[in-house]
Symmetry: C2
Subunit: 483 residues, 2 copies
């Protein structure tokens, strides 16, 4: 690993492949190439490896993942590495009631999938169901490796997620949920993101049910060169900081200007005891009020270091980023006390946070694409330039934006280099990952009712038809009576 200082010295290093970025994607590329017998050098601008994953360690809290942390079934590439390195995963503790805090009202349910957590109004739930069904149906229409070729790509890429919400969400609850999910998953507002990009992300994460539940199921225990080939494994927007000679092609250059990172501050607040468990809460909560829209229990698997992890995302992150950590800690604790209705949250014993938006060498978590970008520039994502190949989770087809996508992208770029060297054939570049045996992806228990329930406009049409029928019936009866 070379420091930026070393890079500035323009020391010539003769090697087969240079990998830029020692995140998961870059390290996976280097590992595969090293195992293929090549000489590889990895460049990293930070004084640590890991990129957008970062495990902080301190006696006061043991270890804590301040970056990417969650792994779920279906993420077979990262699960393969877990097995290879003999790492341990632990299942998230979801016992206790899940809280939703909407319009100042707290609702707590035992089954986290219980829709009554969100509203008691069946119209709200019908509407939310039909929105989710539509999203899933749309997402399935995308070719995973080329969403810009979908029949409706142009239409979907010319609208924002907010436009979909304006058109399809009839109730304020459905709007609110769609908005919250966008903010939490991407760190951006629904109006900032292309609807095609949103569907692509959903599809890449195997649909809305898997994305919402499975992807956050498990965590880890324990917490200028001369080369024949280069693999860039940095987030796209950082490519701007690299001076290419010859310069990058116009489309590639314009693409990296259009892939801004989301706004996200990850916070972990520690308490003496997991008192929320005693009060029957799991620690999981969703809130339409800021600064934390989503939080969950982050206590260690052995029960030590009781903690709540909370995500400050999108506009909340932009509002709070200029506060001191102490001020943010107080805002977060006050928020927990309010949404759980539990004043004990005001007295933490420790607080750790990382503002990923302030990280010069990554930003966080992932790149978000506005309208028009995928259809105009999507084809450039994985296109090599001279001897430079592009990795990084943003270039993954499956689980793009996740750690699993970083593995896919790194290994694919490494195989592109091996192919360019004539060591493997072109059809070996893309390799299907065998499903994990230890953590198989079981189909989520899809609510069979969900698929047949009407949407709000369908319900309105039905009611209208019913009224028309009644009127016709009344007219016929009147005719009969008069004759």
């Amino acid at each position: 690993m070379a420091s930026p200082e070393a890079g500035r010295k323009k020391k010539m290093v003769d090697t087969d492949v240079v990998v830029i970025g020692a995140g998961i994607s870059g390290l996976c590329a280097a590992k595969l190439l090293h195992e293929s017998g090549l000489d590889v050098r990895v460049l990293e601008a930070r004084d640590r490896v890991g990129g957008r994953t970062f495990t902080a360690r301190d006696p006061s809290y043991g270890y804590v993942d301040l970056g990417g942390a969650y792994v779920g079934p279906g993420q077979d590439k990262i699960l393969r590495l877990v097995k290879e390195f003999d790492l341990k995963l632990y299942k998230m503790d979801e016992e206790g009631k899940t809280v939703s805090y909407m319009k100042g009202v707290q609702r707590a349910v035992t089954n986290p999938n219980d829709p009554s957590a969100l509203s008691n109004n069946p119209l709200d739930l019908l509407d939310l169901n039909s929105c989710f069904q539509k999203l899933d149906a749309f997402a399935k229409q995308l070719p995973p490796d080329a969403p810009w070729n979908a029949p409706r790509a142009a239409e979907w890429d010319s609208m924002t997620v907010k436009e979909f919400m304006d058109k399809e969400c009839w109730t304020s609850l459905a709007r609110k949920m769609m908005g919250l999910l966008t903010e939490i998953f991407s760190g951006s507002q629904p109006e900032e993101i292309s609807f095609l990009f949103y569907l692509t992300s959903l599809n890449s994460a195997q649909g809305i049910d898997t994305a919402m539940s499975g992807a956050q199921e498990m965590k880890f225990v324990g917490g200028s060169m001369q080369a024949k080939y280069v693999i860039s494994a940095v987030p796209p927007c950082l490519l701007h900081g690299i001076l290419f000679e010859p310069s990058l092609p116009a489309l590639k250059m314009q693409m990296i200007q259009r892939m801004p990172m989301g706004s996200m501050i990850k916070t972990v607040t520690y308490y003496e005891t997991a008192f929320w468990k005693e009060e029957g809460f799991s620690g999981t909560a969703l809130s339409d009020k800021g600064p934390v829209n989503g939080c969950m229990d982050d206590t260690k698997p052995d029960g030590s270091h009781p903690a709540i992890v909370g995500f400050i995302s999108s506009t909340h992150a932009r509002e709070l980023c200029e506060m001191s950590p102490e001020q943010r800690k107080q805002a977060v604790c006050k928020h927990y006390a309010e949404i759980f209705q539990c004043p004990e949250f005001l007295h933490p014993v420790n607080y750790v946070e990382l503002d990923w938006s302030a990280e010069t060498f990554s930003g966080g978590y992932g790149a978000n694409l506005g309208p028009g970008v995928l259809t105009s520039y999507g084809r450039e994502l994985r296109k090599p330039f001279c001897q430079v190949y592009f990795a990084g989770t943003e270039t993954a087809v499956k689980w793009s934006g996740y750690m699993d996508g970083a593995v896919e992208a790194g290994e694919r770029a490494a195989r592109q280099v091996l192919h360019a060297m004539g060591k493997i054939s072109e059809d070996q570049i893309w390799q299907e990952e065998p499903p994990s045996i230890d953590f198989p992806l079981t189909p989520t228990e899809a609510d069979p009712l969900g698929k047949i329930l009407p949407s709000i406009p369908q319900l309105l049409y039905f009611l209208l038809a019913f009224v028309v029928l009644l009127v016709v019936l009344a007219a016929v009866l009147l005719g009969v009576y008069l004759s």
Copy 2:
């Protein structure tokens, strides 16, 4: 001017102020500081000055502006410099018929402002008029220096220009015109751009009439350091290529990720004679068909080097950027032959072009902001960081994106430095520019009818009211007849 090589050597240079970028903004900042008696160094990554202005010279065509070229009344700062340096301006030759080419139909009118150039359907023109009136009325509601504080800022920044079009344009002509203007002025598609940003640009260019006519009225004749202060005069997205220690604040860093440059290829095609003049055309044409949506005469003021300048913008630029210059030349000439219905355009004697999207050290022409950016990050635009002050036309209040805005921003940043040094007071930072005496801004001959003509929905309401009135009248007459 230091070459990138010199920068890399980390030579220490003791100076008062370092200006990064030798475009108009950076040079104006340096000029003002130098005149104030300070020691100034200007850094430039290219081997030329001028930034987004670039005059190419060659015996075959004399000189040609491949970047910023047009100046108009109201742009008093750049007009002051024109006078100071004794430069000559020449008025664009607009004699002859202006062409509009829509849906494959050529219309040519003598008065370029004649709306019948666009359509003979009065509904089309009513609709276009009411859209423009609304745009102007909205734009005037923005505080020029803080559009994010406008009463409707949040609403307008959460929608794209396309959403405004979907909502307000009833005819395909109005939609087409709005779309074309967006593409030509910004190099982006209407769905890529925030409506608030669009209004801000309009307001900064003194309203839609001035922006559309006056701003393109005249052209020019002839064609690691150690410092106390730094002025950055590079386009915002290039700041990513500068390593700041300490690093830029999170908001500033996220802002520069959200200011991509438009896509624009400027082409100049030369002919033996200005044969189009002989056929009665001015050379100005607007076309809904690509690759050139807008073109005009670019013959020298003395009549030499007859030429047409054509702009390949937005998606057309992205489609054509991978062609060879020869292929692009042929596409452009074929286009002119079709829209002017004049096969002589197929035989150029010379062709010069510059793909600004491929320029590593600028991109072109200006930054375009998507939804949500101005309200979340606008406040960061001109905010200094440590001893670094930010210039560049994107940071201008008036004529942002134009050469005039570059002058404003450079001089303002220079005065911010002078203020920080205690040489001027805070209220001297922003200085009102006296109107140019040589080129005064005369109010555009606003069509007085324009302001009172109804919009399409108003017309529909009127028709509906008329029908209701007729029905009521008929019923009353029926009653009278029956009695």
